[in-house]
Each structure stands twice: as C-alpha cells, then as structure tokens.
Symmetry: C2
Subunit: 150 residues, 2 copies
C-alpha cells in the first residue's frame, strides 16, 4: 500500500531532519519520488499522531508523539527480527510463531504500539495472537508486522 510506505517515510524524515512545516515534508517526499500534497501530509501527521513541538531553542519541530512508542517499535522490530519464525492470517486473527520465550514480550510490545486496527494481542511462550478489528484490518496488521521482520 502506498499510504503506509509514505507514512513510514514521513516518520523517518522527521527523525532525520528538523522540520517545522508540512510543506517541507512534501518537498522531501518528492525527492523520494513520492508525490503528495500538503493536505495529505496533514492527514498523515494526524494519523501518525505527530506533534509540532516548540523546540527548546525557539522555533518548532515536528516530532514523534512520545519516545515511548518509538522505543516500543524499535524493540519490537529487533525482537521480531531475532525471534520470528512464521505467521498465519485467518479472518480477524494474525498468529505469529516465535522462538520459545518471546511470546509475552512481543504481545506486550504490540499492545504498546496502540495501532487502531488492533483490538488486542496476547502471547504465550512461543506464539502471539493479534486480534484485529476485522479481517481487513488484520491484513493491514499483517503487512505492518511482516514489514518489521524484513
């Protein structure tokens, strides 16, 4: 999906550069051959819950909502990368098989992401069950999580 990639790119951009205008995001995306308007970026900023943070040195800067969430994502990515074995999608469920011992941590990290499509997740020793709002949402979740593995 185009949208998800773009949002990912936006997250990367605001971490990399000091950006204080959505128009600048538009320009930087164009350099990556991603064409969008400020209107779309505004929507993305909202969905990603990015904030325009008054910087300590005067001026402003777009920023991730909380370091927490960021850290959760980093850890999840790392853990998935290390412990991921396989996964299956069925209706609203996305089931992940992991190396033994990693289930609870991964389930907890997924919860911390607070992705709106995810209703909840739970993990036993080597398995995590992610429950999405509906089958379509589950597909989104699958895409998002598999993205992290690679």
């Amino acid at each position: 999906m185009r949208k998800f990639e773009r949002q990912k790119a936006i997250r990367k951009l605001i971490q990399q550069y000091s950006i204080d205008r959505q128009e600048d995001i538009v320009k930087l995306l164009q350099e990556q051959a991603i064409k969008v308007t400020q209107a779309t970026v505004s929507r993305d900023v909202k969905e990603l819950q990015l904030v325009k943070l008054p910087a300590p040195n005067g001026g402003y800067q777009y920023s991730l909502p909380a370091e927490k969430k960021l850290n959760a994502e980093k850890k999840l990515k790392k853990t998935l990368h290390d412990a991921y074995l396989s996964s299956r999608l069925h209706e609203s469920f996305f089931l992940i098989k992991l190396l033994p011992g990693n289930g609870p941590a991964v389930a907890s990290l997924i919860d911390q992401l607070k992705v709106k499509e995810i209703f909840g997740s739970l993990g036993d020793d080597d398995t995590v069950l992610v429950i999405a709002q509906d089958p379509r949402a589950a597909k989104e979740v699958q895409r998002m999580l598999l993205e992290m593995v690679s």
Copy 2:
C-alpha cells in the same frame, strides 16, 4: 508576575479540559478574569512547549510536552512542601535549605524541569544550590520555586 500566573493557569486548563484551539484557552482564561489575546496564548504555548496532539479518537488536543516533566514538577512540589526549610537569594544563586536527605532528590528534580533560566543545580544532603543564568533569572527562579512551597 502576571505572565507566570497566566502560564500556570494555561497548564491547568489544558489538563482539565480537552482543548483543541487557542481561542478556547483565551475564553477560559477570561472566565478567570485573565484577559489576553490569541497572540499571547500562542507565545505562551510556545514557551510552555505545549503540543497540539492528534487525539487517538480523531480530533486534536493541547497537551503537556511530556508526562515526565509533569511528574517531575509534581514530585518537586510535594518534596518541597514536605522538606523545605528556608532559602536565600544572592546574585545568580538561589540556595535552598531542606530537611536532611532531600538535597540530591530536589536538585535532580529541578534539573528535570529544564527551565531555561536555570543554568544548573546541585545538592548535598540538606542544601540545594540553584545557579541561574543571571541575577534577574535567579529572582524568577526564586519566585517559581517559592510558589511551589506554598
């Protein structure tokens, strides 16, 4: 100082209500007999480093920059309230006497506030020395900290 009180009121307001426009802050301040324009609120928002956070349920909401800072202030207030003995101001220095054992904690909490007027602070067992940018800043700091005691 008028400004400091107003900013304090603003902080309180955004914690109490779900506010998504600076104009609403203006209105709510008026109910407290504090008259300001949106322009001033915009400056206050910047100084307080408040952010307009996209809310999880759609919509927006002004919010404190990080819970961290808030917690630090709460703890500091509580500790000062419990352990404060006396204080003195001299040039750029503000010296606080505390019940024994509270110095390090208070110094650390003051640092966490990241008030721009404060250059740094250090504490031994029962004393904290706050070093301000200059004598005027020190007065500000004194005012702010004594405010917390009461």
